[in-house]
């Protein structure tokens, strides 16, 4: 499967036959310095530092000079990105703290607490409406379960079983290619939105995560009945005709039964008429009445795609994606649903081009990682908590007055070491699997990080060091004695790891794999690793070495990488210059392609290698996506078919010219003769055949000499071609 260099050269040779700029292969030994006007260099840089070139990008980069453009991308703060900010403006949760998210978009656990009277119903009317409906639904479900329990005598409960088989599948089915079926796709309507909690072993958390699952057939039936009632209910029916503010107020003041009916009518993305004209906060509230988690995860995914497609700070987005994947967390593991927004915004992005150690420490202290890899509940076996020594600043006994927390039931109280984070820290975050550590090191590192926990997890609290959970005594990590000093022990270990030659090597290798090829030259990785150590883990410095290396500019690296589904989808949207009103359908496409956003369940994140992403089903999905995109069949994404072939003063006048124009616009750098001929033959065949009307395709203005249907079909064929699968 590995791409042979020689094979690739042959490929390039073939490609040059049809290339618009055939001269680029003229023996360019010394790269960027040689010919700043070379479009191929600009294209290569764009292919690697961005989510794919948009029309006109190559010319812009050439005008600026490739080196200068790379420098600019390495300093994203110098790039104006206000147009993107405007697009992100309506997505309010992106700017909220985890605590605020937890308050407005409650987790099933919080709902449960309110239902059991352990927590007060919020007084704010918007929040109240959200809680109220969730509590009522949960109560409803509970009642029905009890009823079913009473009547559970006869009948093969096959319909019920479909419910239990779905419960938990969202998370147990691991995401992407790394582990299994990704439930039934549709992040918004299906599995991803269900309470899921399998990764960890915090039983208390899991216990609370069961309430709302995918609706059973009975529930669906009930929902249908409710829906009928809803439409029978004149008051609700008239809601859409009310002015937005009045409508919103009215909904908030409805009795809870009616609110439930209303919330049901929003299921599966329906009921858009109720949302018409509302401001973002109002919309979010109403959507949260139906499903709180959907709002948060949905906005996160929208933002990721909008950034990939529209951010001017493309390289920052690429690096954010890279580090998120390196320090992967899974958004659908319990509380991470409210924590990932802050994780990406406050932990990953600010450090994406900074110092590796800062990034490492930030991830180690992030509630999202502490929860994902269970460290928040890792307890030193000899800690005060494990030994049952009661808390209190004066060491009072269990009957002393100062006894701040109610004593949890002993069975639920975590009392042991959890090695999950310790192991991944060494294996995946720093040293790598062959980094020369032992099982003993894993255990000792786990002891070091006991007490690194989350302050009030369900409320979206922040990092807390809890000395009562911390294992006392010295630890021995990688041959070093770590003296007992509480939280600082962890910082000492992180410092050692961040400055280790193995870490330098591993991070350099992963960067080179992302930016050069699946099997980068060891010499390049060595040079990067040296810089990593010399510059104290300065990521930007390491990347400077990478982007100015002969290996990066080598012909063998050109189009050497197969795009991941995210890269493919984003680059296709960028190439067509599409207008994305709603990125959710694109996110669903990624589910289908096995790369749900924020949905990599294992801590390894997604693979960056070709073999993972090249499969029959993947190719078929890509081809079908390409055709759907260019013919305007992806909801929320507008493609002007007529403009794909160019809007210049001289539009192509026949189908051959149309094909050439589309090739030039969509696949900068050109396609192979084989691809060109295959499409040309297809066009010829289509011409000869009686033309059947294709009403859905090509909404744009016809290009002279080519029907819009031709344009969109050809564009789809090009985006589904082998050439477009590479970057």
């Amino acid at each position: 499967m590995r791409l042979g260099r020689t094979k690739f050269a042959t490929f390039l040779l073939c490609f040059s036959l049809a290339c618009i700029v055939p001269h680029v292969l003229a023996k360019k030994k010394d790269k960027a310095t040689s010919s700043p006007s070379d479009p191929k260099l600009a294209l290569h840089a764009l292919n690697r530092l961005t989510f794919g070139p948009r029309p006109g990008d190559v010319q812009q980069v050439m005008a600026m000079g490739v080196d200068q453009w790379i420098e600019l991308q390495l300093h994203p703060s110098k790039i104006d990105d206000r147009a993107l900010d405007a697009r992100l403006e309506p997505l309010r949760t992106l700017r909220m703290s985890s605590r605020e998210i937890a308050e407005d978009f409650p987790d099933p656990q919080e709902i449960n607490q309110v239902m059991n009277g352990k927590r007060a119903m919020p007084s704010d009317p918007a929040r109240r409406a959200v809680f109220q409906v969730q509590v009522a639904r949960l109560q409803d479900r509970k009642d029905r379960k009890e009823d079913a329990g009473k009547n559970a005598v006869a009948g093969p409960a096959t319909d019920k079983s479909s419910r239990t088989s779905i419960e938990g599948s969202a998370m147990t089915a691991s995401a992407g290619t790394d582990g299994g079926t990704t439930a039934d796709n549709s992040a918004m309507n299906g599995a991803m939105s269900e309470p899921a909690n399998s990764g960890g072993s915090n039983d208390a958390m899991m216990a609370a995560a069961t309430p709302s699952a995918k609706p059973t057939p009975e529930e669906q039936e009930q929902a249908r009945r409710r829906e009928q009632q809803l439409y029978a209910d004149l008051e609700v029916q008239q809601l859409p005709s009310l002015p937005p503010d009045q409508r919103f107020k009215k909904i908030l003041s409805m009795p809870v039964e009616q609110q439930m009916l209303f919330a049901d009518s929003l299921r599966g993305g329906k009921g858009q008429e109720f949302l018409e004209g509302l401001n973002p906060k109002q919309k979010e509230t109403l959507l949260a009445m139906n499903n709180p988690a959907i709002v948060v995860m949905g906005e996160l995914m929208q933002a990721k795609l909008l950034r990939a497609v529209y951010s001017q700070r493309q390289f920052e987005e690429v690096m954010t994606d890279f580090w998120f994947n390196h320090f992967n967390v899974f958004v659908d593991k319990g509380l991470d649903r409210v924590l990932v927004t802050s994780y990406e915004r406050d932990v990953i992005r600010p450090h994406a081009l900074g110092k590796f150690e800062d990034l490492l420490v930030a991830t180690a202290k992030s509630p999202a990682m502490l929860f994902y890899l269970d460290n928040f509940m890792s307890v030193g076996p000899n800690s005060a908590q494990a030994l049952g020594i009661p808390p209190g600043p004066y060491g009072r006994g269990p009957y002393g007055r100062r006894y701040p927390q109610p004593r949890p039931s002993p069975g639920k109280r975590p009392s042991g070491l959890n090695e999950n984070y310790g192991r991944e820290l060494l294996e995946l975050h720093t040293l790598s699997v062959n980094g020369g550590y032992s099982q003993r090191d894993v255990t000792e590192v786990a002891k070091v990080f006991t007490g690194w926990t989350i302050d009030k997890p369900p409320e979206g609290g922040g990092f807390k060091f809890d000395p009562r959970m911390h294992e006392p005594g010295p630890k021995f990590v990688l041959g070093h004695k770590i003296k007992p000093k509480g939280e600082s022990e962890g910082l000492e270990v992180l410092h050692r790891l961040a400055t280790s030659p193995q870490t330098a090597q591993f991070i350099s290798l992963k960067l080179a794999q992302r930016f050069v090829s699946d099997d980068p030259a060891p010499a390049l990785v060595d040079r990067m690793a040296k810089t990593f150590l010399k510059k104290k883990g300065d990521i930007r410095e390491v990347l400077e070495i990478l982007f100015h290396s002969p290996e990066f500019w080598d012909d063998g690296a050109y189009r050497a990488k197969v795009k991941t589904p995210l890269e493919f989808v984003a680059s296709a949207v960028r190439a067509t210059g599409a207008e994305v009103d709603d990125a959710q359908p694109l996110a669903q496409q990624l589910n289908r392609m096995g790369m749900p956003l924020y949905g990599a369940q294992p801590p390894t994140g997604y693979s960056m290698k070709a073999e993972t992403w090249v499969s029959s089903s993947a190719l078929l999905n890509r081809m079908n996506f390409a055709l759907a995109l260019t013919s305007g069949k992806i909801k929320g994404v507008k493609v002007e078919a007529a403009q794909l072939a160019g809007t210049s003063a001289s539009p192509p006048t026949d189908s051959d010219a149309t094909l050439s124009a589309l090739e030039a616009n969509l696949i900068v750098g050109g396609v192979s003769k084989q691809t060109h001929d295959s499409i040309a033959a297809q066009m010829g065949a289509a011409k000869g055949a009686p033309q059947k009307p294709d009403s859905k395709a090509g909404a744009g203005k016809p290009v002279a000499g080519a029907r819009p249907a031709d344009v969109s079909t050809i564009a789809g064929l090009l985006l589904g071609s082998p050439e477009f699968q590479r970057r």
């Binding site: 490929f11 691991s174 299994g180 899974f330």
Partner: protein
């Protein structure tokens, strides 16, 4: 591997020389027909994701401890479908009873992964990679099991199938494998049986491409699409008596049976079923576990009925990432445990027997004082299926780092 694949493609390309009009798959089938001695062997792996509670699935009703540790969620002796006086099936597994009596269904108890992880994703990952404790393994054991298999009667794009949207870990790797969510969606540019013009254009592009990665996969893809259309698996309706329950798992197995019956050359296949993570209100003879077990067993039993004679060369193995605590917890559920139960069903299976050593449920016998201890490594079970049924003797490649000695096989295969 690339060698294998290239050889395979070259052979198939040669086969059509001179018979340009004959579709490649027909030529291949013809080649297969020339070797009458070979019969297609199939291995179907089913993953119960979420950690199934083995102790309430194949119940040790002869253990007083079992009843002591599970006061509210045990399966009462009178409800258990007794197997051998000591073990019994959960009543929801009634459709397994005839298979047991016909000696086609075997059980391995106290089996699973030796890794101590109680994390769903780690444990699933380990069991699919086939290398407990080693995260760096890039491919899955079921994919590796295809390396060095004896030549199949027909080697096709359908040799390895996963029912789902993407290739799961267990099937990822160098051998071509196909993930299929729905047979009807496996096409490009619409479902026209004659192939659409865009499909033809894509096919020409990928077939003529010099891209060393995309060309072979593309070619396989269009082979598969055409094979599927020609075989028209939709015409294979479930056999009489094969009543698949509604739901994703039943659908998966129903479609898998169609692919097998359509003679598409399936050698290994994978399907999964979730919904086993019963921390709260697990239920006993009724309730959550009863429901999911009904779905599970009725689907498998329907699949078996549906396969008919093809079952003779088929072995089905089930697995789950770990078992659950021997004691019930404070919420009438169970938490993450260790060893579990595996089912093995198939023509060559010596069924009607519970294999493996029972470790007991006394406090001192429990793993870490809380879980069923492990006495059979899952790789020993799978190794036997891979070696003795599929005929791949290269078990060190399939399960690297695990010494699978044929002498130690449980010998559940005849």
């Amino acid at each position: 591997m690339s060698v294998t694949r290239r050889v395979f493609l070259r052979n198939s390309a040669l086969a059509v020389v001179g018979t340009a009009a004959v579709p490649r798959f027909l030529a291949r089938a013809a080649m297969g027909a020339a070797e009458p001695g070979l019969r297609a062997k199939r291995l179907v792996v089913i993953f119960q994701r979420g950690a199934a509670d083995g102790l309430n699935i194949v119940v040790p009703h002869g253990e007083a401890q079992y009843y002591a540790m599970r006061p509210s969620i045990n399966i009462p002796r009178k409800a258990v479908l007794d197997l051998d006086g000591f073990f019994g099936l959960h009543p929801s597994l009634a459709s397994f009873q005839p298979l047991w009596k016909q000696r086609q269904l075997a059980i391995v108890h106290a089996a699973g992964s030796p890794d101590p992880s109680r994390s769903h994703f780690d444990a699933q990952d380990f069991m699919e990679a086939g290398t407990p404790g080693v995260k760096a393994t890039e491919d899955g054991w079921l994919n590796r099991s295809l390396h060095g298999l004896p030549p199949a009667p027909q080697k096709t794009a359908f040799q390895a199938i996963a029912m789902g949207p993407s290739i799961p870990r267990i099937l990822s790797g160098l051998e071509p494998a196909i993930a299929m969510n729905n047979i009807n969606d496996f096409s490009v540019g619409g479902r026209n049986p004659k192939g659409s013009p865009v499909a033809n254009a894509f096919e020409a592009m990928y077939n003529h491409s010099t891209d060393t990665v995309l060309h072979p996969t593309g070619e396989e893809t269009f082979d598969a699409v055409k094979m599927l259309k020609a075989a028209d698996p939709a015409k294979y309706k479930p056999a009489a008596g094969a009543d698949y329950p509604k739901g994703r798992f039943g659908d998966s197995l129903r479609q898998l049976a169609q692919l097998i019956k359509a003679n598409l050359g399936v050698q290994v296949a994978f399907a999964d079923i979730g919904g086993w993570d019963h921390h709260v209100n697990e239920g006993a003879t009724e309730g959550q576990i009863a429901n999911v077990l009904r779905d599970f067993s009725q689907s498998i039993a329907a699949f078996w009925t549906d396969l008919g004679d093809l079952g003779e060369d088929t072995v089905v193995v089930t697995m789950s990432e770990f078992g659950r605590t021997a004691r019930e917890n404070g919420n009438r559920g169970t938490d993450h445990g260790h060893a579990n139960v595996m089912f093995v069903l198939g023509g060559p299976v010596k069924g009607g027997k519970v294999y493996g050593r029972w470790p007991g449920l006394d406090q001192s016998q429990l793993y870490e004082g809380r879980d069923l201890a492990l006495t059979t490594d899952f790789r020993q079970v799978l190794g036997e299926a891979v070696a003795r049924h599929m005929g791949n003797k290269n078990l060190n490649d399939v399960f690297p780092g695990y010494e699978n000695q044929p002498g130690k096989f449980l010998k559940f295969l005849g």
